[in-house]
Subunit: 736 residues, 2 copies
């Protein structure tokens, strides 16, 4: 389907504004204060190793002075938004609407960039330091590095692997188990006809330009952006050209191939490597092609998303659910996208783990009883209206948002609230999370509504989860392609009498006359509406001939070939194509955001960095650190290990000779939330140990026999560290 | 690497004897009694939907009468085995050895088939019934069925998905967590050079023949087998030809392309579809090809195994382990193999989940302290010797086997024992499990030893796990290809003084003379041995010239280009390339075997089939079955649900109106081990419910508040159903 094709692309086309700015206005109450946040960084984001900082935006208030400066920009966005609305209302030509939308986007961008520029310059995040830690402790790193590496492919090391596994396990619990979803596991290899039907073969593409001499490829929008930025940084560029450049940059996101070709020609952009001329932008399909079997004529692709596997299994799943709607199916698995030139680490990769849900529901009734459970959940919503009016995102209870029709229906709203719960549980900072609604021109024509969960990182607002109401499009497309009915039966409130006019094929004669086409013709005859059959009947009567068009071929139907029957029948059920609500998670993106949000530097010691993961997802739950290599401690260490193992808690024993402070620092770096120290006081019966909370560096002392339950509870969010501190005596040390 | 290439192939080339026979001789004591087992089935295995049965071999004894008939066949195998040994000992030409091995295999096959033919004919397994259940309850089914399906691709439905997830979770716990392995998660997309180095590009292939007219492809050995079987079943075939046919069938496994071509020509085999002529056998590489990026010249494949990802990350992993050996890395992920014509359901598929371990160890010391923990574990070992002597497999403690050098070393033995523990834990029948050693001609030239865990199913003995000592081959191949040293440092017992003769390149001059080749030449100079440098020194002195050959190119080295240094240095460490022990699990195969081994029919009611999974891996742990729809029971049902949820136990509520017996049958079918019935006695305080053990259909009654702990314990193997029966009162009902 185009829709998700576009949707998929969205995963790649997340906000191209490198560093945005975040402002929350409290509509309901509590939770967040209205705060403009910002980043100092203004360097181009393509300088890979530049030291990037997000300012301490969370603590900053939008001062009245700043708001005064922003006011005209907000007004300009609103003016533009009003124009778009007006044109649409008047049914103006598409080209006029598109032009107005490009202008709207340019103004939105200017507003966001000004917000960043005006925001205070304090900074606390250093991406280089985080990247260094992640590489050094092998969370993840470039694949096949000893062979020179491949861009857009990453291998996860032990820490990254465990973090990801924990996030996936929680996802499975939070969604599949708690909601009773039907999990499936389909193949990555996908035959071409499936992706033809879904729209991917024709439309899942990016524009690229080629070096006319050596054939080197560049993503067209990237090439323009880089070339423009080079011009902007060049002192010799005239003020006039610079203004032109800025205008292009602002509009680039809305450009099609012709616009881009025009810019390349007008500025005379060449290959940045060779200086050779460039071709016109050409579409490059982003799926990895392959063939199944030895003949070479069974074309296939690696799936660009897991959703199709669920759609093609719809019939089996509906049966599994005993024919009842609504139900949700889910899949955790790999997706593949052959990006032209991937950058930005884990955010844009060629092979990635997705978690997708397809919730099938009666298109005429998208209410959901359990919505009541989440109705009071507050979300930061950046609605299409807010965006067009130059307004900031607003916090609102999801129940209110659905009531006000801001969010299309209860089912979609429910999944947005559940999405927020999941993201917060795994450790996303609630102040750096928003749900942004797609503007109507961003959505596929069939989509009803779409809200992306966007997370603020040093790369700007990243789309990490899509929550879309995709209507009936997907199932209908596969039905069209296969002629297999992908429908559900809905019980009618009362039986209905209907008149049927049917054209039954005389298969014996049909087979004789049309050979292999007979079956197709039979299908087409069966699919005719009452009116069409009556029209055919009339023509057959008059001309003894009816031209039936099937797949662009005309077939001459004569009266002997069909038998027209009229009768009435009682219907107890109605056939419907279910609508689909689709939450789609890019786990790598959520994970990268989590790494940024968990990254800390010790106050007063910038070199001492660490990761403060929620215990729930921490790769390793505790460290065991004997204070000395003294033999006497060994049996106590063994007791601690047994206690932890019996609660299935992972641990890392560090009995190396480093100072305890040094060993703490090492375990803090890989995000171990709890450090268990065995010291000489541990010898006294009953054995006790100290437990240190890495993030706060506070310690308590407790019996070994209580360890498993305490840490188990902390890891499952059944207790907080504050609770533990109240319950057990504090332990103070001069070690750190 | 060829080795695993061949190894991988092994996954496909599991025993082609459709139905084998299993005999265990008790060498140690206990556990198993010596029993010949058999299957009735003798139909060709390519008749897909034939009703197949494994005889009730587990209960049958090898009668003395049978042994008398088998004796001459055993002797014949031994004679042939002795000849192979003798030829090898004498260093006879390879062709003679190969010929003798083909004869040996033919005789082994005849022995196994006779064992099957002679075994009693009772039968209890009906594959059709199992397949029907698996399809109907959507454990798994053919992918893209609505598009006509693709052979060798399967989608897992909710039940299969949960079963697989539980098996993988247990694998992660049993190996990665308990052994402290380093887990990695690498990409499926793999650049060509990596797989060139590993040997896959050149050697990971099957022989196929093509229809000379329409290009249709057939796997050569399959085509011969099918054609021969057709001849054998043809009444017009002469006795002489039949004998010839049988001879070919027996030897087919050892055939190369020439042998196969000869057979096809001699018998005049044609395409079974069109009757057209066939080409000579041609090699077809079994990897799925693709390209990365838009240019089309970055060739890549989908990985045929996960192992390579670990090898290319060796340096990072060694660092992660602080430079220390031994350590083990593991990966759970997808593998892809473009089989020519996959058959046999989950056993031979094109996309599958693998779990692989690479244990890196000092090649000179493969002892393992924790081996002591498993030394008494008894395994059924089918050693190369047993196979060559026509002897049955023998049960032996792994400690004994390593001591006797039957199994090469402690590390390999350890993983074999751990493998058995895992397989039994997830539910493989211990009486249908054996470890078969590769004959020396089955192993890659560099491999030291290899034992496949084979599981007996209705398809015969299936190789499900490979346990191989692959020596240093893999790391060395990648080192050769990349020039990145993949080595570990081993501390010398005492520092050693060594003399060094070194040729240092004069890089400035070298660069001038050889431009881009300079770096390569520098590398080659640095890699010369002491002796080679001295030889060069002599030539330079005499001729003022030395021809250095790098990658088949000669370079003229003159005295000004190199500086020869001689000195002595003290070594504290020695550089070694670690050996690799590789356990490799095909999870789909283990899962299929488990499904067969768990399949049961109720005594006296053949139609009532069910799956008796171990609770540990059961997709759903319990069902909740209210005896009536009476409102009074609702709060008790809610209590039960809460109790189970608090122990994270999955359940399925079936409150449909069917009789309780019918609902039991439905939940038994999907392998739910425990059924919780809420009846009218449940109302009395404290609330009680009955718990039914599906396999034995026995029931007990207990308080709702005890449910979670009991079922949790049963699912984690902390209690057995027998224990529970002793503890809680029995509940009897006439419902079933």
């Amino acid at each position: 389907m185009l829709g998700f094709a576009r949707n998929c692309r969205k995963f790649a086309n997340f906000s191209t504004v490198a560093d945005k700015f975040f402002k929350v206005e409290v509509v309901g109450n509590k939770r967040r204060t209205s705060e403009p946040k910002t980043r100092k960084e203004t360097k181009p984001r393509f300088e890979k190793k530049v030291k990037q900082r997000i300012s301490d935006y969370l603590k900053q208030m939008a001062t009245p002075e700043i708001e005064i400066q922003l006011a005209p920009l907000r007004a300009a966005v609103k003016e533009s938004g009003d124009l778009v609305r007006d044109l649409k209302a008047k049914g103006a030509p598409k080209i006029d609407v598109d032009r107005a939308v490009v202008e709207l986007k340019a103004r939105k961008k200017l507003l966001e960039e000004t917000e960043i520029a005006l925001a205070p310059k304090e900074a606390s995040f250093d991406r280089l330091k985080l990247e260094d830690l992640l590489k050094r402790r092998f969370f993840y790193d470039q694949s096949f590095a000893i062979y020179g590496g491949v861009t857009g492919l990453y291998d996860f090391g032990p820490m990254g692997c465990a973090l990801k596994a924990n996030m996936l396990q929680e996802w499975r619990k939070h969604f599949i188990l708690e909601e009773g979803m039907l999990e499936v596991d389909c193949t990555s290899l996908t035959p071409e006809p499936v992706l033809k039907a879904s729209g991917h073969v024709d439309r899942f593409a990016d524009w690229m330009v080629k070096d006319t001499k050596n054939g080197e490829c560049f993503r067209a929008d990237h090439l323009i952006k880089n070339s423009i930025e080079k011009l902007l940084n060049d002192k010799k560029t005239s003020a006039e050209t610079k203004k032109d450049c800025e205008d292009v940059l602002a509009r680039l996101e809305g450009f099609d191939n012709n616009d881009m070709h025009q810019v390349i020609t007008r500025f005379g952009f060449k290959s940045p490597i060779t200086g050779n001329d460039l071709t016109e932008p050409i579409a490059f399909n982003l799926m990895f092609p392959t063939q199944i079997g030895p003949t070479g004529d069974f074309k296939a692709f690696l799936r660009p998303e897991t959703a199709q596997g669920i759609f093609v299994n719809f019939k089996r799943l509906l049966e599994f659910n005993q024919g009842k709607l609504p139900f949700a199916a889910a899949q955790i698995g790999l997706g593949f996208r052959n990006e032209i030139s991937p950058r930005q680490g884990l955010i844009r990769v060629r092979e990635f783990t997705m978690c997708e849900i397809e919730h099938f529901v009666d298109p005429e009734d998208k209410r959901l009883p359990k919505f009541a459970k989440v109705a009071n959940e507050k979300l930061v919503l950046f609605s299409a209206c807010n965006q067009m009016d130059g307004e900031p995102a607003k916090e609102l209870a999801i129940g209110e948002a659905v009531k006000a029709k801001t969010v299309a229906n209860e089912t979609l709203g429910y999944y947005m609230a559940r999405c927020q719960q999941y993201l917060l549980k795994v450790g996303i900072d609630p102040r750096r999370l928003r749900f942004r609604q797609h503007l109507s021109n961003e959505m596929a024509h069939y989509a009803q509504d779409c809200w992306d969960a966007e997370i603020l990182t040093s790369y700007g607002w990243i789309e990490c989860v899509g929550n879309a109401d995709r209507a009936c499009y997907d199932l209908q497309q596969h039905y069209k392609a296969t002629n297999v009915k992908l429908i559900a039966e809905k019980k009618l409130e009362k039986p209905t009498e209907v008149n049927v006019v049917e054209a039954q094929a005389n298969m014996a004669l049909l087979g004789k006359s049309f050979k292999k086409d007979a079956k197709k013709i039979q299908g087409a005859l069966a699919a005719l509406t009452n009116e069409e059959v009556e029209q055919m009947e009339a023509e057959l009567k008059e001309n003894k001939l009816f031209k039936l068009t099937v797949d662009n071929n005309d077939f001459n139907i004569t009266p002997d070939l069909v038998n027209i029957k009229k009768y009435s029948k009682t219907l107890h059920v109605q056939e419907i194509t279910p609508s689909v609500i689709e939450p789609s998670y890019g786990i790598g993106r959520v994970m990268y955001s989590l790494l940024e949000h968990s990254f800390r530097q010790r106050e007063g010691d910038e070199q001492r960095t660490f990761l403060a993961f929620p215990p729930l997802v921490a790769p390793i739950k505790c460290s065991i650190l004997p204070i000395s290599a003294n033999e006497k401690l060994v049996p106590i260490i063994e007791k601690v290990k047994e206690e932890l193992a019996s609660y299935e808690l992972s641990y890392k024993l560090d009995d190396s000779s480093g100072s305890i402070g040094r060993r703490y620092a090492r375990t803090d770096e890989i995000g171990i939330p709890f450090g268990i120290t065995v010291d000489f006081d541990s010898e006294t019966l009953p054995h006790t140990v100290t437990v240190r909370h890495a993030e706060s560096m506070t310690q308590i002392r407790l019996e070994v026999s209580e360890l498993g339950r305490l840490i188990g509870d902390l890891c499952k969010n059944r207790q907080t560290w504050q609770d533990a501190q109240q319950k057990y005596p504090k332990f103070e040390t001069a070690n750190e």
